[in-house]
Symmetry: C2
Subunit: 128 residues, 2 copies
């Protein structure tokens, strides 16, 4: 029986979720933000592999299960309000985004328009 | 009249908000996550100073208004689902957290417990 006290200290949303930000532990790049429920955070802490909760599919989302681009978790941090998580991860394959880019945040606001600034590293058709 | 097309491309929550992650542009440290509505993101883009929406107070939150610890915005990024923002900022005073720490994510999960690992740089009583 694992001690789950640390889960009780989190301020979950009314849906029982907490936002989790994944950051590349080496480069500091923010890779993505997804959501976790108690079970996914518990599994992430046990296995040191990022497991999210897919709101669209309504089930656990073992990141990289299909693509192989898993996230090896180096640290799990909690903010002052206990309602946001930051994971420092090693991103397998160097690709976190389903578009084949390193980061999901590949668009930058330039002169009032969102401009895709980051390269596609691998064709998504070859990933999934 | 400013072109606000970029605001229309965002997938706002049912409350009209989007989560915004602030990252230190130089060190890559994730400083905090807060929320923005259309007006706060529009102001942030115009002024290059981070303006959030305080859900608890129900009003615009000009970060650093009281403390002086404003965030000068270097870039604004949007993710693939268009529902999360990342700001790269220069954090005035080097303190983003109301506890007087650099980052709000000052607790790390160690052996099943949240441990405060980051130092208090300034007594909050002297900040507010």
């Amino acid at each position: 029986m694992t001690d789950s006290t640390f889960l009780d200290e989190i301020t979950w949303t009314s849906d029982g979720l907490v936002p989790a930000i994944a950051r590349d532990a080496k480069t500091g790049t923010v890779l993505m933000m997804a959501w976790m429920n108690r079970e996914s955070l518990s599994l992430t802490a046990q296995e040191n592999i990022a497991v999210y909760w897919s709101r669209s599919r309504g089930k656990l989302w073992r990141k990289g299960e299909t693509s192989g681009f898993t996230q090896h978790v180096k640290s799990i941090r909690l903010d002052c309000d206990a309602d946001v998580i930051v994971l420092d991860v090693e991103q397998m394959g160097g690709i976190a985004c389903h578009t084949g880019r390193e980061s999901c945040f590949y668009r930058e606001l330039q002169n009032g328009k969102w401009v895709a600034t980051d390269p596609v590293l691998k064709d998504p058709k070859e990933i999934y």
